[in-house]
Chain length 86, copies 2
């Protein structure tokens, strides 16, 4: 049971980590230093985790990776939006 | 068995994603737009995943998260190094 809590903390931290990045990007209107290749790889990887979560019917894996996937796509869209606006 | 492959692809993508970010940072000597809060959260989260992997003795989880942890710490050190050098 305590290991389930470790897993939940891990999932919350690694998923919510995208939120300060989004806030920073919106505030500064700059995401130039972020690697688009990193986020492309994350999108592929998180999609795999999500399908794996659906397969094993694990709600923590599904929710964490669906949110992480949405955040990653949003960050990459924001990055190109801000670059094009300059 | 095929789901194990999905897990391995997921682990490779989400972990190796840090590498293009490190390369970009070293090349441009700028990581200003990266959120340090994001990487702090990642460090906590990946540490939890790593201890969970050690607990369940899963080599994929151990290796992927140990590497991700090392990369995250390196990115955050690089960020502050480049900011201080200016």
């Amino acid at each position: 049971m305590e290991w389930k809590i470790v897993g939940i903390i891990a999932a919350i931290c690694t998923t919510s980590g995208f939120i300060p990045q989004i806030i920073r990007g919106i505030r500064t209107k700059r995401l130039d230093d972020i690697s688009p290749v990193m986020y492309m790889l994350l999108i592929v990887g998180l999609s795999c985790w999500l399908s794996y979560g659906i397969h094993i019917e694990d709600m923590i894996i599904i929710v964490a990776n669906a949110a992480g996937l949405a955040f990653s796509i949003f960050i990459i869209i924001l990055r190109f939006k801000y670059i094009r606006q300059r």
